[in-house]
Subunit: 197 residues, 2 copies
């Protein structure tokens, strides 16, 4: 039976960005099928009463340095926090699902995360989304129209509700079956789980 790694992420979440740079290699070396599942972190926080670390001043002071350290460890470009942070990622999440319909959610996600956290761009800006869509090999006019479709809106909502029902309280969240893992920093535990599967 094939092992599956479900990766729930939000395009506005910097720790999801860090995870996005690692999940493909992890899935490849453990022989797992990887499923990219955008969801809305804001709705997860609302449903669970959890909060972003930036709501605590001491944690907020640590956040940028921590992200910069991780980016260095992972060999990513210098970390940049968008001026718009926390960013509204509703349109980006929907666009991710449109990209998925065309089999392009992986390049789209990498392009979106690079724009946000390596270039500091605002993913709520239609001009940025246009550029990201184009970089991912999508036709911007077509896909940006498609994000207003009810099917797409519902699919993003369903991903979010499903993750909450399965126990998620933050992003990124991973599932191997019903075994849940929270956070970029839990990828060693995800790997241990996939190797045992």
């Amino acid at each position: 039976m094939a092992k599956t790694l479900e990766f729930f992420f939000d395009y506005a979440s910097p720790y999801s960005y860090l995870a996005s740079a690692q999940v493909e290699a992890l899935a490849a070396r453990t022989g797992a099928e990887l499923r990219w599942r955008p969801f809305l972190l804001g709705a997860v926080f609302k449903a669970t009463g959890n909060q972003s670390p930036v709501t605590n001043p001491a944690k907020a002071r640590y956040l940028l340095k921590d992200l910069a350290d991780w980016a260095r460890l992972l060999g990513l470009p210098d970390f940049r926090m968008p001026d718009s942070f926390p960013t509204n990622s509703l349109q980006a999440g929907r666009l991710g699902l449109v990209a998925a319909e065309q089999g392009l959610i992986v390049p789209f996600s990498h392009a979106a995360y690079r724009a946000a956290f390596a270039e500091g761009k605002n993913l709520a800006d239609p001009a940025v989304l246009t550029e990201v869509a184009r970089a991912a090999g999508l036709e911007p006019e077509k896909v940006l129209a498609r994000i207003e479709n009810q099917e797409i809106k519902d699919a993003l909502k369903r991903n979010t509700e499903e993750a909450i029902a399965r126990g998620a309280f933050g992003a990124p969240t991973f599932f191997v079956g019903e075994d849940m893992f929270f956070g970029n920093d839990r990828l060693p535990l995800v790997e241990q789980r996939l190797r045992a599967a």
Copy 2:
């Protein structure tokens, strides 16, 4: 100039326990001098407004599974949460500083953490502290009397106040100079920092 790794921990903190099992090897392979610095997590939470993950129901549900996963990854005994959790670690912290006076904080800390998180014992219980002190090569009657000394009480308080002043908001917290790292899961970043030093 010698590199120093300061390890601020609380004997009631399960993630500090996970870190305690890794810091010596990390210091050895990076050539850093390791300083074990007990402090009081409760006072850190109070000062910073941060809260234990167990205060959020969704996070609390995840906590035990997460700790069990880490213990397995690190080759530790099966993780056990003491029935007394969250444990009052005031006496254990003071006893750690008494052990330090005799050059025995390392064996004391391992014995205390093993009692708490591998055997599920309550570190607020004088009988458990007696047993832990003896296991660490200390004379229980002498050291248990010494924890009532004002010097020891003040030293634990000073460690706590210093960590807060330097930016700590949880446990474990590491410092390499004034570069701070929070959490057992940040040890790869601590290692990166020590190798660059």
